[in-house]
């Protein structure tokens, strides 16, 4: 098994009214009754306009996704000791939050270079809310483990997580496109039309045209992320995972590509501003 030395917590808030929250989240990871991780996460940010000024506030709006890293853990932990009872997410206030999906990602040693990213736990299509107010929700909820799968895991859907950070004009209003080739054909070809704003994460679940495996990609395939316009975009974080189920909660979540800190340059169809597309490094 592996030592986990960094975490990312990703979430998608339900789209219904008042599903979002301004409160912080609390993640605990317990191994044999000992808390090996007790960490607060903000997960989301929002820009608040007051008069002519804008300020950054913590919180997840209705329908908003978020992703945040724990930064390297002071005390890495051995993932072999994890059970389905180990991981819980709580909320530190009474502004109730209704999550749709949750994913906990870890970086494992010793295959640290360039950093192996694995999904640790995931919940989907959640039906309950979190709140410190017992009338409004649970104080904490479980996150059951998922398997990282392997090269032979048959992938039925793809989860694309994107975070666009702050910076000078890093956002884009252009559509983007994810294309995955595996074996002899294109298995994912999806155009995503969205505003990729600063401080904003996006959670996209994409259907595949043909189920595939990571082995198919490694032998003859690629993952290409493209932009379809000249409004240049600089993402901060991009994760691509393969899910083994066609719907509902997956059992295996296979890491296909992980770029926690983007160093692949700007994306734009204007060659003077960046590349129209980049090939993401495969997780082998």
């Amino acid at each position: 098994m592996a030592i986990v030395d960094n975490l990312w917590l990703a979430a998608l808030t339900k789209g219904n009214d008042d599903a979002g929250t301004n409160d912080r989240f609390n993640l605990t990871i317990t191994i044999d009754g000992i808390d090996v991780v007790v960490r607060d996460f903000v997960i989301g940010w929002r820009m608040v306009r007051t008069g002519t000024t804008q300020a950054l506030r913590t919180g997840l709006r209705d329908g908003q996704a978020g992703i945040e890293t724990s930064n390297p853990l002071e005390t890495p932990f051995e993932s072999a000791g994890l059970t389905h009872s180990s991981v819980r997410l709580g909320i530190r206030g009474d502004d109730a939050w209704s999550p749709e999906h949750l994913l906990l990602i870890g970086r494992t040693q010793p295959s640290f270079e360039p950093g192996r990213i694995v999904a640790l736990a995931m919940e989907t299509e959640l039906g309950s809310s979190l709140s410190a107010d017992s009338d409004e929700g649970h104080l904490t909820m479980r996150l059951r483990l998922v398997s990282p799968g392997n090269s032979a895991t048959v992938i039925q859907r793809v989860l694309l997580l994107i975070y666009t950070d702050a910076g000078d004009d890093v956002e884009t209003e252009n559509s983007i496109q994810l294309q995955i080739g595996a074996g002899t054909g294109i298995v994912v070809h999806q155009t995503i039309t969205d505003n990729l704003n600063p401080f904003t994460a996006r959670w996209y679940v994409l259907d595949v045209e043909t189920p595939f495996t990571r082995a198919d990609m490694v032998s003859n395939g690629s993952i290409r992320l493209s932009i379809l316009g000249t409004d240049a975009w600089l993402p901060r974080t991009v994760f691509v995972f393969g899910l083994d189920t066609a719907s509902g909660r997956p059992n295996d979540v296979v890491t296909l590509a992980s770029v926690p800190e983007w160093e692949l340059g700007w994306l734009s169809t204007d060659p003077s501003e960046g590349s129209a597309s980049v090939v993401l490094p495969l997780n082998v």
């Binding site: 912080r24 317990t30 009754g33 059970t83 009872s85 819980r88 649970h138 479980r142």
Partner: protein, 277 residues
């Protein structure tokens, strides 16, 4: 394995300024990824005070056979930070349900972390690791006495300022005899719970007590006292967190009646029926 259909959460708050809380506690029990219990315990706890909070009917009984040390967590639902010193979770279980049979589930001792929803004040939740209920052969080195002084408008002044004493005899010898008075808690006040940890002079087993011994509760003065539920657990360690917590009383929920050295007011001593399982 036991099916739990009621739970008691016993806590002792640290003897520190502002250690108590008026917030609601939240208990979760998770078995293999499923939250089989998510329930609240609502009781104010003062600094240096004990509380035994009974959830007499759980939303759904749960089977303890799938529990692990990571299954049980205790949390708090607001920002009035709480500093627990000791926590014990125990309950009544089926199918071998007997009215008095109490089974210890989880315990933490000498706790360091505070609980609060305010991250600057404490953790949101904490784990409660499992303990074994032990057996009649478990060697007991301490006895935990949880005692409630009845609150009743009918009974009047149920509290006492007189000391009390617990005596345990095993194998024909007195193995524990300890007087209790003037602790940091509000001792034996009307409507209060008390948490007393008593050291055994000689380690003993429940089998020894059953074979040739007994347990006696005494009052050592004439200030009459009316006590209700009293739980006695034997702990297998001399200090710190126990591994095994053995139930000693057969009828812990029994009303023990008035106690006083003044015979006109009550009994000077009460024999405690010892649990056989």
């Amino acid at each position: 394995m036991p099916i739990f259909n009621s739970l008691f959460l016993a806590v002792l708050t640290k003897n520190e300024d502002d250690a108590g809380t008026s917030n609601i506690f939240n208990l979760t029990v998770n078995v293999a990824g499923d939250d089989v219990l998510d329930t609240d315990f609502d009781r104010d706890v003062d600094d240096a005070a004990a509380e035994v909070i009974w959830k007499s009917e759980l939303p759904a009984p749960f089977d303890s056979s799938g529990l692990t040390n990571s299954s049980i967590r205790l949390g708090i639902r607001d920002d009035d930070a709480w500093a627990p010193q000791e926590v014990l979770l125990f309950g009544q279980a089926e199918p071998d349900f007997q009215p008095g049979r109490m089974v210890a589930l989880a315990m933490e001792s000498d706790l360091q972390h505070w609980l609060s929803t305010d991250s600057s004040e404490g953790n949101l939740t904490m784990p409660l690791r499992l303990v074994s209920p032990g057996s009649s052969a478990t060697v007991i080195r301490r006895v935990l006495m949880l005692v409630h002084t009845i609150w009743s408008s009918t009974f009047g002044d149920t509290a006492t300022d007189s000391p009390i004493e617990l005596e345990v005899r095993a194998g024909g010898n007195i193995v524990l005899k300890q007087e209790i008075h003037d602790t940091a808690q509000d001792d034996l006040e009307k409507g209060t719970d008390n948490w007393y940890m008593l050291d055994a002079a000689v380690p003993f087993t429940r089998a020894d007590v059953l074979a040739n011994g007994g347990i006696t509760l005494r009052i050592l003065g004439s200030d009459a006292w009316r006590t209700g539920p009293m739980f006695l657990f034997g702990l297998d360690t001399a200090t710190g967190r126990p591994n095994e917590v053995v139930n000693l009383t057969a009828q812990p929920l029994r009303d023990l009646g008035w106690m006083s050295t003044d015979a006109s007011e009550g009994a000077a001593s009460v024999e405690i029926e010892v649990a056989t399982i």
